[in-house]
Subunit: 448 residues, 2 copies
């Protein structure tokens, strides 16, 4: 009898897990499901579709129906998994018509993702508080813009909040962002680096209010404004980007262990505490390679890597996941922003003594037209002199520098080694002295 | 009495050595000299100035006279070092008027660079065989173009030869390149990768003839053509880009040891076999970090790094140079080309058993407009599974991927670690599955 693999979730993690399982076991019966109308699309692309950089939301579907047919994957759309019975190895599902069914599994993969979280603020029950997580959410906001929305407010200055604010501003709307903490991008950048991004966004016309908590949602049935930091802000489009929370309800109900980060705990093989039940993506917790402590790393890149490991193991193969550094980038207007490893703030919070190196340089020699500014901050653990984190803000060439520093952190490169690293240069492409090397020099001065 | 430091050479290595010496010893008397009219300019920029990307050749002067004044460096232009007496610690110099002088030194740094080499081909003595090494060379070719040159020929399809050919083609000339070996860029790329670049250059209109040795220079006094592979090619501008040779005559005459690569041998501190005599840049040999064998790595990035170490040590400080990986990039039209570590060819030549991983991917997701093709080849040592080299050809984002793989090689990353590395992604900036990671996957398949 063929192996039966059931996957709850059919987005980044779910589909990559299914594909890896199929490659590992050509005869397995593989079923995956999603509550949504679309499967296998890129949620990371939604703000960029909203901003007009991608021709349509439909383009975001990376895995079309033909892919699922070709890979012989049984895809169930608008279908919810309601219960897992780990003893009898079954999953109960329900489709949009209310029809229920029980699926038998040999291996189960939980890829339930995360949901946008709205804190318990007065008036939270009012209608019209819009989130941005699915293609449907994106289309709703797009429709609101078409209907003549004037003054949107985004609550939360994290990655999704700001990507959305940038998209709204690009669509010609005067956008306000409200953030509880004293800085933007608090999970990604230190305050000194975030300040540069905030100034750039303000220059582009976005109204950013930091250190302002949302205290109340106003309006009768439908939300028409907020009170933030004591101030009333009326708005015809109120977007909640407070953050996301791992979707673990189904797992919890089935007795699967949840970690201290509120993500599902797994082994290196992405197996939960229950045999033959795996988990991957935004719903699981990961081990940070630097601190060796659990962390929530809710990124697309992490999801697909974990999913591949889960898929291989669920199909009888062998693979392990090594942990995360949280390498992440984005682009706001013409500015690229990236991070890998620990910020100075999170390194201190993890008990590390650090020194930092900061440099502002250019992406080409002075004499070559078109060079853009680039700002690098590296974080170094004091005793080992090892690189533990880096943040970069620049006009170009940020992503692959983040990857380079991610490799360096993973391989425990010291700041002294980085200061002597062999780097590549040509006038149209880089400075003779690579800015990452210069940042290492700056950190070294503080270690002498 | 202040320390006396004499530096023979005032370009990439000479100037960076002088600057490092000054930072190490604020009171030293530092003298540096060059045969040329200009000091402290970027020779790497010359082909790009010729191609019209940089407004003038003068822009290439990175260190203006004010820099030498500010750093209190005694700069002698159009001055030649004719003899070194290592016993009495003196250098004899001669200026353009023929005036001679003897300089006393406490420390000496030899940064004599390299010269463009023309093989002993019949007719080599004829006038008008043009090289491209100095600003003056660049201006001469620029003038020839202004005078109406029609059909230039470049002999040699190395980096300088092709950068020059691209510049000539960009200036509207129908350019021919003649190469003795069966492929272009033989020191940089394997034949399979070079083929892609050759096709692109041919599509841009450059006439490339490989496997054709130059057999004779034609003309009475002045060269008017060549015979290559039995074929006569008439040309009004004949450029020799056969390669460069380390300038070691002065060092040899002074009894300083030369290595098997014909570069000056140095210690990790960049000291020659003679006490207090240092050397740096294109005239020295380096240790390849992978093979641990001597190599000539005549790159600007290597020169400035070695020079810094030489300058610090010459001024009484302490610094070491770790060796090279030969990381190098360039841009031909809209294509970026890069290498780090060993090619498959050179790895085999060094006795390594290897497998390779090749991938062709894109720089953005399919759904995000503007993504460009990128081709990566990695070379992996079979037993250790360590990455030992990489070559990349792409429309963008090549340089920092080369740096990332250089860090990986330096830190002895295995291909398995690379296949699981934590990489960064956002729709406008990269694919979810980083192409370097995919190349590692391809290599892993051959190791299973």
């Amino acid at each position: 009898m063929p192996r039966r693999i059931v996957i709850v979730g059919a987005h980044a993690a779910g589909v990559d897990a299914a594909a890896a399982a199929r490659k590992t076991d050509r005869t397995a019966e593989i079923t995956l499901m999603t509550k949504q109308k679309h499967a296998g699309y890129s949620p990371c692309g939604i703000p960029f579709a909203l901003g007009g950089h991608i021709p349509s939301f439909e383009k975001l579907v990376v895995f079309p129906p033909s892919f699922f047919r070709m890979m012989k994957l049984n895809l169930l759309l608008e279908t919810t998994a309601t219960n897992i019975d780990t003893k009898n190895k079954t999953v109960e599902i329900e489709d949009k018509t209310g029809k229920q069914e029980t699926l038998q599994y040999g291996s189960l993969i939980i890829a339930t993702g995360a949901y946008p979280f709205v804190p318990p603020i007065k008036g939270r029950e009012k209608q019209g508080i819009q989130v941005l997580r699915t293609i449907e959410d994106g289309k709703k906001i797009d429709q609101a813009i078409a209907n003549g929305v004037k003054a949107p407010v985004v609550m939360g200055a994290g990655l999704i909040g700001l990507e959305t604010a940038v998209a709204l501003q690009e669509r010609g709307l005067r956008t306000t962002v409200v953030e509880l903490l004293p800085q933007i991008l608090p999970a990604m950048l230190d305050a000194d680096m975030a300040k540069n991004v905030q100034e750039m966004l303000q220059e582009k016309g976005i109204n950013i209010m930091v250190s302002k908590g949302v205290e109340e949602f106003l309006g009768t049935d439908k939300v028409t404004g907020i009170i933030a930091g004591g101030e009333q802000i009326n708005s015809d489009l109120i977007i909640a980007a407070f953050g996301i929370r791992a979707n673990t309800e189904l797992a919890k109900k089935a007795g699967i262990a949840i970690g201290e980060t509120r993500g599902i705990k797994t082994s290196m093989r992405m197996e939960t505490n229950v045999k033959d039940v795996y988990a991957a993506g935004d719903c699981v917790e990961s081990i940070n390679m630097v601190t060796q402590r659990p962390t929530l790393c809710q990124l697309g890149t992490t999801a697909v890597k974990q999913a591949k490991v889960a898929g291989i193991n669920a199909a009888g193969g062998y693979a392990v996941f090594n942990g995360v550094l949280g390498s992440s980038v984005t682009k706001f207007f013409d500015t690229e922003i990236g991070v890998t490893g620990l910020t100075e703030f999170f390194a201190k919070k993890a008990g590390l003594e650090t020194v930092v190196g900061r440099i502002t340089s250019k992406t080409r020699p002075e004499y070559y037209p078109g060079g853009l500014s680039i700002k690098i901050k590296i974080v170094v653990e004091k005793e080992s002199q090892r690189l533990v984190g880096a943040q970069i803000i620049g006009g170009e060439q940020v992503t692959q520098r983040i990857n380079a520093l991610s490799f360096a952190i993973q391989k425990q490169m010291t700041v002294r080694e980085l200061a002597k690293a062999d780097t590549a240069y040509a006038p149209p492409l880089n400075e003779t002295w690579e800015p990452m090397v210069l940042a290492a020099e700056m950190a070294l001065r503080k270690l002498r």
